[in-house]
């Protein structure tokens, strides 16, 4: 295996954050670190201020129903100057999955975290404006969770009443 150019960064992170850096991997050239939720803001702040990761690409989450903790929350950031990328992962547990928001570090995380709340139901502590983004405000449930069935949502037509009607019956 070739020595990755990103290895020193992981070493620096490990030295600085010790136990908070739970895991790191380099899969197909993509560097990922798994960070303790309590330390994620601190790590993010360090990555931005000291390592030059100035550009947030996206934030999202992955639902693993069989795992505990159930959710992996992901932010990916890039250093425009060094042309490097790092994926910051942390975990959130049911029944009230929440992680710290990184909007205080990268303001661009705002909508991405709102979307993650909307579609996966992860609360971001410290987010300035955590409302649903894509789904209507009155929507129940979080569609990208694995236990949310595709095509299962009831559709109410003007001449239909919803009571007693199974979603499948509506789908026909």
């Amino acid at each position: 295996m070739t020595v990755s150019a990103s290895a020193p960064l992981v070493e620096r992170l490990g030295e600085r954050f010790k136990q908070a850096l739970q895991e790191s991997s380099d899969f197909r050239g993509d560097l990922s670190i798994v960070v303790d939720p309590a330390a994620v803001v601190e790590v993010a702040r360090y990555l931005k201020d000291e390592e030059g990761f100035d550009y947030l690409l996206y934030a999202t989450a992955v639902d693993w129903p069989a795992r505990d903790p159930r959710f992996t929350v992901v932010w990916e950031v890039r250093s425009l100057a060094n042309k490097t990328r790092i994926r910051i992962k942390t975990t959130a547990t049911m029944p009230d999955p929440h992680v710290p928001s990184l909007t205080s570090v990268w303001t661009a995380a705002n909508w991405h975290e709102r979307e993650t709340w909307d579609l996966l139901g992860i609360k971001f502590d410290g987010h300035p404006d955590l409302r649903r983004l894509l789904m209507p405000d009155s929507w129940e449930g979080h569609p990208l969770r694995k236990d949310y069935v595709s095509f299962g949502e009831p559709v109410i037509f003007s001449d239909q009443k919803l009571e007693g009607l199974e979603p499948d019956a509506i789908r026909g």
Partner: protein, 408 residues
Amino acid sequence: MPSVAETSFAQEPFGPEHEPPTEWMELNMGPQHPSTHGVLRVRLKLDGEIVRDADADVGYLHTGFEKSFEDKTYTQGITFSDRMDYLAPPINNVGFVAAVEKLIGVEVPPRAQAIRVLMMELARIASHELWLGTAGLDLGVYSGFFYAWRDRELVLDLNESYSGVRMMTSFTRVGGVAWDLPEGWLDQLQRFIDVMPGRIDDFEAMLSDNPIWHQRLKGVGVLSRQAAIEAGVTGPMLRASGVDYDVRKAFPYAGYEQYEFDVPLGTNGDCYDRYKLRVQEMRESLKILQQVIDSLPGGPWLTSDRKVALPPRAELSKSMESVIHHFRLVSEGFKGPVGDVYAFVESPRGELGFYLVSDGTNKPYRMKVRPPSFCNLQPLRQLVQGVLVADVIAIMGSMDFILGDVDR
């Protein structure tokens, strides 16, 4: 009753600074507003004619593509990718398969790479043409719209003669492209390349030095270099603010490193720079297209790895093994290793990324799309604070967002 003499005719202080504070009005712009190019709703808080605050309400075109990807095999997913950014489908196709190729580690033959570049650059030109037409239309340039759509039509014709479809090309396959270029297609493309520079000149003659165009765009919607990076905008919006970042240069894919082209940069970060930059990008795309034609490699256009790509039809009547591969690929597709990758391409609107999580099955476990329009729309609130309502149209036009891309 006061007499005439008692009435004061003294001059009251006059001007906006002396007017009593007005009550802010909330104006609902969209979702069915022509300038929103789709269905975007913006709630504006107005102080007279000045915008004090804005809240973009997106999601009207949310169709759950990310959820749908989880139910489809990797090959089936290609057709979904078209429909997100419906103005540059080939680039979405390439971005999607780039993520899958990165995950499973398959080589793409050089001819397939070249065909992908051809289709992507054509899509970039078509998308910028459409942007020129519609953004101009918002500001009252009616004739520009017709010129732009005439020229975009040429690209759609090329799409049609290559893939049979004018917009949703779905032409990529994991490990290559679905078809070789048809006979005569390159001549058709050459005619397009020959005619386009003059047409872009016409456009520039109409707009670039037009005083009304300048008044509407210069100094409007300024995004500084620092603010652009912080807001996470991408593509022409980022480059108009002077940040030299183009995926094709910074992280070349599909063989872009072989072609010579410049990445135009803006200096002021205003709407005019964004216009100018897109026009220049069209010229650069034409340069790339010419270079691809001149250096088009021969050989296969799909990988010979039978684990991911269908065998040629003729082999099916001769080889039992091919029949088995064909059956396996059509019935259940191929599996990817466990892991997660992020692959990204430069769409006309910026960096289009696909974050693919695989659990080792034949379908993506999670497919997160990083849509450039979404990232570009996010700073709308900052950009429109303090401007006139009419400038909101110009600013939204200059952002070039596609709601299908924003909402997915």
